[in-house]
Assembly symmetry: C2
Homo-oligomer: 479 residues x 2
C-alpha cells in the first residue's frame, strides 16, 4: 500500500497551497501535459474526454435552438481585424502574427484568430441580402490563440478550445432575445450537467467585450473563494453591421442593418470542475459529465469466479447505459482505489470472493466516500440511483459553499476588509461610475463580476463613493 499512499501524498493539500493543489491535480489526474510550446498544453485523453462530453451536451442543446455549425478560417488579415475600432483595440495587443507563408514573406500579415467576429461579419456581409436570409445562427468549434503573458492549464493558456456562436438578426429585440437565450442555456448546462451553480448578470462597461453593446455573463465561485467567468453572451447591436456594411432589405424594401450577437464557452470549464468539486484526493467529476462513471475493482482477482463476476457486472451496467470500466491490471486494490479517487470517477464498485458468496458488491461514492452494500441482482439500478443522487448533492453542496461565501457590504471599510479577509463574492451597491471600479481594483484587486439580473436593494448609496446607488453588483477577485 506504500504506492497508493505515495500517489495521494504527491498532491499538495488545497488548504496549504490552492494553486499548487490545482496544478498537482491537473497533472496527477492526467488531464494535461506541458509542451515545448510555451503557454500551450497537451490535453490528454482523460481531459479531452471531459471536453468531448461538454461538446456533445452543449452541441445538442444548441441544435435544439436552431444553431448550425460551420467552420471559418484560422487566419484573419490585419485589415479585416481593424475594421471595428473597439474590437481591434481590445485584441491587437494579444494576437499571434503570421508573417511568412512557405519561404516567402506575406504581403499582408495574418493574425491567428483570437475570436472570429470579423470573419463572421465578412461572411455575413456577403451572405445576407434580404430579410429572407435572416436570422443566421451559426456556431463553430475550434481553437483560438491569445498571447497571454502568464498562463495556467485550462484557465488561461495561449491556445484554448471553445465554441463561438455568431448570429445576425433583423431586429434589436430578436438579437437581445438570442443573447439572453444563450446565457440561460449556458447557465442551465452548468447547473444541470457540471453541477456548478452560477450567477447570471450583465458586465459593466469596463468589463464588457471589445466591440459589444452589452455583455452578459455567468459567474461561478471556486473552492478558494475566487470567481470564474464561465460563459459570456454579447449583444453587438448594429455596431459591427455598420463597420462591415451588413445590410438587408426588409419587407417594405428598405435597407436595414442587421443586429448581431456572439457567445462562447471554453475548456476553462474543465478548470472550473476541478476547482468547484475537487478535494485533497484529486478530481471529483459530476456523474453526468464523467467519461467513466463507475469503475469495477475486483478484489483478489485471481480467485475463481472474481473476474467472471466483474465482467458480468460490467455488461449489466453497460446495458443500463452506465459508462463503466473494469480495472483488471495487476496493481493492488489500494492503488486502484487511489487512482479512481485521483481521476474523480464518481463511484467504484468493489467485489471480491466474500462479496460474491453473499451475492453483493460494495459501491463507494467518490464525493462522500459513503460505502453502500448492494445486492448483485439490482446493481445497475442502484448504481444509477447513486449517480443521480450524487449529481444532485454535488450541485447542492457547491451552492451551499457559494452562498456561505457570499457577503454583503454597505460601507467601503467593511467592503475592503471582507474582500481582503474572506474570499468569496461581496454584494454591494454601485453608482455606475468607472472611477469606483478602478478604485476597487487598485485598493483590493477585485472587479465587478456582474450586475446580477436578480437585484436586491442593500442600501441607497454606492459602497465606494457614497453617491446614489444605481445597481447591486457582485464583486470579487477572479481567475
Amino acid at each position: 500500500m506504500a504506492k497508493d499512499k505515495k500517489l495521494v501524498k504527491e498532491i499538495t493539500s488545497m488548504e496549504e497551497d490552492f494553486a499548487q493543489w490545482y496544478t498537482d491535480v491537473v497533472k496527477k489526474a492526467e488531464l494535461i501535459d506541458y509542451t515545448s510550446v510555451k503557454g500551450c498544453m497537451v490535453i490528454k485523453p482523460a481531459g479531452y474526454a471531459i471536453w468531448e462530453n461538454i461538446q456533445h451536451e452543449l452541441d445538442r442543446r444548441f441544435k435544439e435552438t436552431g444553431v448550425e455549425n460551420v467552420y471559418l478560417p484560422l487566419f484573419i488579415p490585419e485589415s479585416l481585424l481593424q475594421k471595428e475600432k473597439d474590437h481591434v483595440e481590445g485584441f491587437a495587443p494579444e494576437v499571434a502574427w503570421v508573417t511568412h507563408g512557405g519561404l516567402e514573406p506575406l504581403q499582408e500579415r495574418l493574425c491567428v484568430r483570437p475570436t472570429s467576429e470579423t470573419l463572421f461579419c465578412d461572411l455575413y456581409s456577403k451572405e445576407i441580402h434580404s430579410h429572407r436570409d435572416l436570422p443566421k445562427i451559426y456556431n463553430q468549434w475550434c481553437s483560438v490563440v491569445r498571447w497571454e503573458k502568464t498562463t495556467r492549464p485550462f484557465l488561461r493558456s495561449r491556445e484554448f478550445l471553445w465554441q463561438e456562436g455568431h448570429t445576425a438578426h433583423a431586429t434589436a429585440e430578436e438579437a437581445e432575445e438570442r443573447t439572453i437565450q444563450m446565457l440561460n442555456l449556458y447557465a442551465d448546462f452548468c447547473e444541470e450537467v457540471l453541477a456548478i451553480p452560477v450567477i447570471k448578470g450583465q458586465k459593466t462597461e469596463k468589463e464588457k467585450f471589445a466591440g459589444a453593446e452589452a455583455t452578459y455573463t455567468i459567474e461561478s465561485l471556486m473552492h478558494d473563494g475566487k470567481a470564474l467567468q464561465s460563459g459570456t453572451s454579447h449583444n453587438f447591436g448594429d455596431g459591427f453591421a455598420r463597420a462591415f456594411n451588413i445590410q438587408y432589405t426588409d419587407k417594405e424594401n428598405k435597407l436595414q442593418y442587421v443586429h448581431q450577437t456572439s457567445w462562447g464557452m471554453t475548456t476553462r470549464m474543465i478548470g472550473a470542475l476541478i476547482m468547484v468539486h475537487g478535494d485533497n484526493s484529486g478530481l471529483v467529476l459530476p456523474p453526468r459529465i464523467a467519461p467513466v462513471q463507475a469503475v469495477i475493482i475486483p478484489i483478489q482477482q485471481r480467485k475463481d469466479g472474481v473476474l467472471e463476476t466483474a465482467e458480468r457486472l460490467e455488461a449489466q451496467l453497460k446495458a443500463a447505459d452506465i459508462r463503466v470500466k473494469t480495472d483488471k491490471t495487476d496493481k493492488s486494490p489500494g492503488f486502484k482505489f487511489a487512482e479512481q479517487e485521483m481521476r474523480g470517477i464518481p463511484v467504484r464498485i468493489e467485489c471480491g470472493p466474500k462479496d460474491i458468496e453473499a451475492n453483493q458488491a460494495v459501491v463507494v461514492r467518490r464525493d462522500t466516500r459513503e460505502k453502500i452494500t448492494v445486492s448483485l441482482d439490482e446493481l445497475a439500478g442502484k448504481v444509477q440511483e447513486i449517480l443521480d443522487l450524487m449529481q444532485k448533492e454535488m450541485l447542492e453542496r457547491a451552492r451551499a459553499h457559494r452562498d456561505a461565501h457570499t457577503y454583503v457590504a454597505t460601507d467601503y471599510e467593511s467592503f475592503k476588509k471582507t474582500i481582503n479577509e474572506r474570499p468569496g463574492f461581496v454584494k454591494a451597491m454601485w453608482c455606475g461610475c468607472r472611477e469606483c471600479e478602478d478604485r476597487v481594483k487598485e485598493d483590493v484587486q477585485a472587479t465587478a463580476r456582474c450586475i446580477p439580473f436578480e437585484q436586491e436593494k442593500l442600501s441607497d448609496k454606492c459602497v465606494v463613493c457614497g453617491k446614489p446607488a444605481k445597481k447591486m453588483v457582485y464583486w470579487g477577485r477572479a481567475y
Copy 2:
C-alpha cells in the same frame, strides 16, 4: 417554374467543363464560401454537417479499436520541426510562420502545424518509459495549414480539417499491424458509408510521406477519371523514435526504441463525394452520410390537411430514425425539387391533396430519379428500404464506373496513349526504379498511385524501361 430552371442552368455541365462543374456544385449546394483569406474557405452548414457525420462515424470506429482522443498545440517551434531530417525537408517549404506574439517578436519562430508528428514525438518522449506505457494510440481532430500555391475547395486548401492518429508500439510487428488495421478501417468506411470503392496498396518510395518507412494508401477514382488519394496510413519504424529519443525498458529491463505509425483522413473526402456521385443537377449524397436523408415537399400546401399530413409523416419518419425535414417555405414545388436535387438529399417525398385522398405519397430517388408510389401506412419502412437500396446501388455504380475506367498496358506506347486519351487508372508492371516514375511524370503527367495489395502479373517487364518487373502498379493522373 422559371426560377428552378435558372437554379439548374447555373451549373456548368460536367461534360462541358468538369472543374467548373465542381466549383459550381460546391457553391450552389452551399457547401462552402470563399473568404478574404486567400486559399482558405468557409465550410457552410450544409458542408459542415457532412463533415460532422464523417467525424461521428470514423470516431466511433476508431474508439472500437482502442483509440483515445487528445489535443496538441497548434504551433511547432522551428527547432522541434527540424529534429527529423526527411520530415522537415518535406514540410518546411509549405508552412506558415508565426514571428510575433502580441507586440513583440518571438525568440524562436513557430510554424502553424502542417501535421503533428513532431509534437506527438515530443509528448511520447516524456510519457513513455516502460513497456507498461505501451501502446499509445492517440488521435486528434483539428485543422492543419499547408501554404499551397494553387487551391481548390476541399481538395487543396491552405487550411483543412482532418484527424491525425499517432501511435507508439513496443515492436515493429505491432506497428505494422496498426498501420494496416487503420488502412482497412478507412477502406471499409469509404465503401460502407461514403459508397466510394477504393484500391488499397502501398506508395512507392517517391510518393511516400516525409519521414515514413512505408506509406499505405487508399485510392479512389473520380467521375472524370482522375485519382484521389483518400486516406493514408504510415509506418515510421523507429526513425522518429531515434530522432526524438523515445525509448522504453522492456520486460528484460533493456532499453528499446518504440515503433510508430500515423494515419489521417481529411475534408477532401467531401470533394470525393461530389466527384464520385454528383451529376448535372448537383450533389448526390449516399444516404448513410447525408445530413438530411429525406425531404417532404407538400404539394398545394395551403389546401386543407396537406401540411398536417406532412407533419404527421415527418414524425413517423423521425420515429424510425430517418433524418427528415419538411420544406414548408412559400417557394414553388418545382423550385423545391431543384433545391433538393442540388443539395443531394437522397429522397424527396411529394404529397398533395390527391395523394392524401389515395392514402399515398410519391418517393423520388435522387440518384436514379425513379418515382415510387408508397402507401402512407408503410411510408417509414419503405423509405428506409429505398435508402438502403440506394446506398448499395451507389457503391455498385461507382465500382462499375471505376472498373470501366481501369485499363491495362503492357508496352510504353499504349501506356502513354491510354493515359492521354482514356482518363482512369492504368495497371502496368514496374521495375521499382525512381527513374521510370520520373519519366512517366514527365511524359504524361501521371504518377504511381499505389502498388496494390492485390497483385496481378500482367507481364515480366517494366512498362517503361523493359527491365524485369517487380510489381504491378496503378498509375493515373491525380488531384
